[in-house]
Amino acid sequence: MDPQKVLPDHEALDLHEAINFKTLCIAKSKLMQGLVFDDDLRNLMKKDVEQSIQGLTELQSLYERAPFQAPVPQNRPTPIVGEKEGTEH
């Protein structure tokens, strides 16, 4: 990676915050569309999802230049469900 293009530490951390916030917003706005009754509100949420997807993609590509950047695996590195973990019911 071009060292000139690496993001400052603070900037990268703030991008981390922004990305997580945006991700949650998309998830929420998307899920809430199935729950709201008012059409105007639903349309505004739809618009938010579309806009946020664009925004998030943009942030993701900038985040690639974080100093702690790493190759992204297909799945979550450590599985959250499995036989050994948690109590069986």
Binding site: V6, P8, D9, H10, E11
Partner: protein, 99 residues
Amino acid sequence: MNTIIENLTGMDALSDQVVAMDLLIAAKSGVRNYAMAVTEAGTPEVKEMLTRHLDDAIEMHEQVSAYAVEKGWYHPWDTNEQIQLNLTNMKTALNLPAL
């Protein structure tokens, strides 16, 4: 720092660097405060005014931070350098005699 005033006031610690950092912190708080204020405004007239001021504040912050980077008083790309600088500045401030 203007040497005459420096000698007159004995404020040789108040260098251009300190003034610039003060301006930078003010610019930074300005952007944050305006963002807060914009999200509290409901009346279009007030909102338009505050949004305009937010733009001003962002531009001011951009200029001041670029200036501070250029002068070597602000090192966003080099955290170690920034820590070193802060340590030095802290020491200077701590050793200042209180008049």
